[in-house]
C-alpha cells in the first residue's frame, strides 16, 4: 500500500479526460482568446491586430449593451422558470403529497427526452400570436394574444418557456433527489415537535439542500443561456432588433453571420469570464466539501 509507482496511478486515470480537455477545450479557448485581439473574418489570410478594441466594442456598442442587458433578463427569467418553479414543485411533491409521486416524476421528465429543435417548432406553432391554438382559444374569450415576437421581453419570456418545457423535468428530478437525501428522521423529528412544514422547509430543508440547490441554480443559468440558443435561432433569430438575443447568440451571430471573429471572440471571452464568476460561487458553496475528502 505504500508502493511507489502507484503515485502515477491517479494521473493515468486522469489521462483520457485530460487529453480530451486539452485538445477540445483548453487549446480552443486559448485560440479564441488570441483571436479576440484581432480583426478577422475567419478565412482572410491576414488578421489585423487591434488590441483591446474588440473588448471596448463589447461594452460600448449599444447593441452589445442591449444584449448584455438581455442576458441579465434571461438569467432572471431562467432562474424563476427553470429553478424556482421546479424547486417549488419538487418541495410540493416531496412534502405535501403522499400519493402519485411516482406518476408525477415519470411524467414531468418526459419533455426532457425531446430535442429543443422539436420544442421550438412545436411552440412556435402553438404560440403563433395570430393563428395558433392558444390565440384561437383566447380569441374565443375575446382576448387578443400579444404579438410576442415583436417585443423583446415577451420573446424572451416565450423562449424561456420553451427551454423550461425541456429542462423543467430534469431540474425537478435533480432537486427532488437532493431533497430525497435529507434524512427522514429529521422530518420525523420536526413532525413530532409540531413544526409547520413550510417553516421546516425554510429553516432546515433548504439550507440542507443548499449544495444541490446552488448547483442546479448555476447549471440553470449557464446551460440555460446556451439552451435558449436553439429557440432563438429557430424562432426569432435574435429579433426584434436584438430584443431576444443574448451573449451566446450574439457570439454566434458575430462569428457565423457577420464573420466578425474578433468581436465574437471577445464576446465569448467575456461570457466565459461571467461564467467563471458563477463557477467561483459554486466552488465556494458546493465544492467546498470536495477539499475534505481524505
Amino acid at each position: 500500500m505504500h508502493n511507489k509507482n502507484k503515485r502515477f496511478l491517479p494521473f493515468l486515470y486522469l489521462l483520457p479526460t485530460a487529453i480530451l480537455l486539452v485538445v477540445f477545450l483548453v487549446i480552443p479557448i486559448l485560440y479564441t482568446f488570441y483571436l479576440s485581439f484581432f480583426d478577422w473574418n475567419l478565412i482572410a489570410p491576414t488578421k489585423e491586430f487591434v488590441g483591446l478594441r474588440n473588448y471596448l466594442e463589447v461594452f460600448t456598442d449599444p447593441v452589445n449593451q442591449k444584449v448584455i442587458l438581455n442576458t441579465l433578463i434571461y438569467i432572471v427569467f431562467l432562474v424563476v422558470l427553470n429553478f424556482l418553479v421546479p424547486y417549488f414543485i419538487s418541495l410540493v411533491v416531496k412534502f405535501f403529497i403522499s400519493k402519485m409521486q411516482g406518476v408525477y416524476k415519470v411524467l414531468f421528465f418526459i419533455p426532457s427526452l425531446f430535442s429543443l429543435v422539436v420544442g421550438a417548432m412545436v411552440f412556435t406553432w402553438i404560440l403563433n400570436p395570430v393563428s395558433g391554438p392558444i390565440a384561437y382559444i383566447l380569441k374565443n374569450f375575446g382576448i387578443a394574444m400579444p404579438n410576442w415576437s415583436n417585443s423583446g421581453i415577451l420573446a424572451i419570456t416565450v423562449i424561456c418557456f420553451i427551454t423550461n418545457w425541456k429542462v423543467f423535468g430534469y431540474n425537478f428530478i435533480l432537486l427532488l433527489t437532493g431533497l430525497g437525501s435529507i434524512p427522514k428522521n429529521i422530518i420525523d423529528a420536526a413532525k413530532v415537535d409540531g413544526i409547520p412544514k413550510w417553516r421546516l422547509i425554510w429553516n432546515v430543508i433548504l439550507p440542507m439542500n443548499r449544495g444541490i440547490g446552488i448547483y442546479v441554480l448555476i447549471l440553470t443559468i449557464v446551460q440555460g443561456l446556451q439552451y435558449v440558443f436553439t429557440p432563438i435561432n429557430v424562432i426569432t433569430t435574435g429579433g426584434p432588433y436584438y430584443g431576444s438575443s443574448n451573449m451566446i447568440y450574439q457570439t454566434y451571430l458575430n462569428a457565423f453571420v457577420l464573420y466578425k471573429t474578433g468581436t465574437s471572440s471577445a464576446l465569448a471571452i467575456v461570457t466565459f469570464v461571467i461564467f467563471l464568476i458563477l463557477l467561483f460561487i459554486e466552488i465556494r458553496f458546493v465544492e467546498r466539501k470536495a477539499k475534505n475528502y481524505a
Binding site: N128, V130, S149, N150, T237, G239, Y241, V257, L258, Y259
Partner: protein
C-alpha cells in the same frame, strides 16, 4: 476492367441548400441521373441546412480546414462576400479553358440574368442557377367576401385600402410582408417607390423614396393592417386564413398550394403610384470552387448538364424557383408547368423588372445586418427617416 475505370472516375462534391421540402429530392434525382449517364464523373450532393447562410458558414469552416467542395450554390446576398473571400473559378474562365469559347454562357443567359451574378467589380462569379422574385399571394376567398377587386392590388396604396376594409370588417390582417434574416422584400418595396438601395458603391436608400416606402410599411403595421411577425409564423397565418395577402417569394407557391384550404392565387409584385415595379432578384448561382484542374473540368461538365432545359425545368418544378436559362424558360415543358401552376406566371413576368440584389462590396454581410436592424427598429416604431439615415451612414462608413 474495374480497376482502371475506377482510377479515371472523378469524384466531385456539390453543396446545395435544398431541404427535402424544397427540392432536395429533385437534387438527388438529378445527380443520380447525371451519375448514371456520366461514367467518369461521380457527383456527391451535400445538403447544408439553414439556407445560404448555413452553407456559407460551412464553407468558411471548410475553407479553413482545406476541404472545400467542388461546386457550391451561392445565394445572391453572398455574391460579393464569396467573391472576395473564397477561391473559385469564374464561368468565363471555365468556358474558355474547357470549351475554348464562351458560347455556352452567351447562348443560355440573358444579359440581365448574368448581371445578377456579377460582383461589384463587374466580374461574373458563377452562373445564375435559380431565380425568384417576390409576388403577392392572395386569399381569393377573403377578397371576394369583402368585395375587393384584384386589379386594385397592383399598387401598395390599393393594398392599403383593401387591408383597411378587411381589417375593419373582420379584424383580420390585410397583409404580411416576409421578414426573414434579410431585407429582400423590403428592398423590393423601396425600389418600387423609385428609391435606390445603392448608388456608386454607396448606400442610398435613405432617400425620399426609401423613406416613403418604409413609412407606408410602418403605418400599415401600426394600424394593424399588416402583420409584423417572423416569416414562418407570418406564412402560417396566411395559410390559415388570418391574413389576406402575403408579399413573399415565389418559392412559397407550392407550399401554399399544398397547405391552404382556400382559393389561393398570386399576382405581380405591387408598386407605388407613379412608379413601376422593381424587385431584387432572389435565388442563387453555381460557383466552381474546385481547385484542381481535373476537378474543375468535371465540375464544369456537371454544371453544363444541369443547365440543360430538361434538367433545369425538373429542378424548377422541385424547388418552386424559376429556371435561369432562356431555353428552359421558353421550353414547352416549363410553359405547361406554369399553366398547371398559375401562381408562377406573375413571377415569370416580374423577372423582366428584376434587378440584382444589392450587395455591398465591403462587409456586405454587416451591411445587410444594418438594413435588417433598420427594418426591425422601424417596425418597432422608431422614426423612419433618421433610422434609415443612421443605417445608411453606418454602411457607408464601412465601405471606406
Amino acid at each position: 476492367g474495374k480497376k482502371t475505370s475506377a482510377t479515371s472516375v472523378k469524384h466531385i462534391t456539390y453543396w446545395h441548400v435544398n431541404a427535402q421540402t424544397q427540392g432536395g429530392a429533385t437534387v438527388d434525382e438529378l445527380v443520380k441521373k447525371f451519375n448514371d449517364t456520366h461514367k467518369n464523373i461521380k457527383v456527391t450532393a451535400k445538403y447544408n441546412p439553414d439556407m445560404y447562410k448555413g452553407l456559407m458558414q460551412n464553407l468558411q469552416s471548410a475553407q479553413a480546414s482545406g476541404k472545400v467542395p467542388d461546386i457550391t450554390q451561392v445565394g445572391w446576398a453572398y455574391d460579393n462576400y464569396f467573391a472576395s473571400n473564397f477561391k473559385y473559378m469564374t464561368p468565363t474562365d471555365a468556358a474558355k479553358k474547357f470549351d475554348g469559347n464562351s458560347k455556352f454562357i452567351d447562348s443560355n443567359f440573358t444579359k440581365r440574368t448574368l448581371s445578377f451574378a456579377k460582383d461589384s467589380k463587374g466580374h461574373l462569379v458563377g452562373l445564375p442557377y435559380s431565380l425568384s422574385t417576390p409576388v403577392l399571394f392572395i386569399n381569393k376567398d377573403i377578397l371576394s367576401k369583402y368585395n375587393i377587386q384584384e386589379d386594385s392590388l397592383a399598387t401598395w396604396e390599393g393594398i392599403k385600402e383593401a387591408s383597411k376594409k378587411i381589417h375593419d370588417q373582420s379584424g383580420k390582417y390585410g397583409l404580411y410582408i416576409q421578414e426573414p434574416a434579410d431585407t429582400w422584400a423590403q428592398q423590393g418595396i423601396m425600389l418600387s417607390n423609385g428609391a435606390d438601395i445603392q448608388k456608386g458603391g454607396k448606400a442610398a436608400f435613405a432617400s425620399a423614396g426609401g423613406v416613403g416606402a418604409y413609412k407606408y410599411y410602418q403605418e400599415m403595421v401600426n394600424d394593424k393592417l399588416a402583420l409584423h411577425t417572423p416569416w414562418a409564423q407570418g406564412m402560417d397565418s396566411f395559410i390559415k386564413g388570418d391574413v389576406a395577402m402575403a408579399f413573399t417569394t415565389i418559392a412559397q407557391a407550392s407550399h401554399i398550394k399544398k397547405s391552404a384550404s382556400f382559393n389561393a392565387a398570386a399576382i405581380e409584385a405591387p408598386h407605388f403610384k407613379d412608379h413601376k415595379t422593381v424587385v431584387p432578384v432572389g435565388g442563387s448561382m453555381l460557383a466552381i470552387t474546385a481547385q484542381d484542374s481535373e476537378q474543375q473540368k468535371a465540375a464544369w461538365e456537371f454544371e453544363k448538364w444541369m443547365y440543360k432545359a430538361e434538367a433545369a425545368v425538373t429542378w424548377s418544378k422541385g424547388t418552386g424557383y424559376l429556371p435561369p436559362t432562356k431555353v428552359a424558360l421558353e421550353s414547352s415543358a416549363f410553359k405547361d408547368y406554369v399553366k398547371e401552376n398559375p401562381m408562377l406566371d406573375p413571377a415569370v413576368k416580374t423577372l423582366d423588372n428584376a434587378v440584382p440584389w444589392t450587395s455591398f462590396p465591403k462587409k456586405g454581410l454587416q451591411a445587410e445586418q444594418a438594413m435588417i436592424d433598420a427594418r426591425d427598429k422601424i417596425l418597432s416604431g422608431s422614426d423612419v427617416k433618421s433610422t434609415l439615415e443612421t443605417a445608411q451612414d453606418k454602411i457607408n462608413a464601412q465601405q471606406k
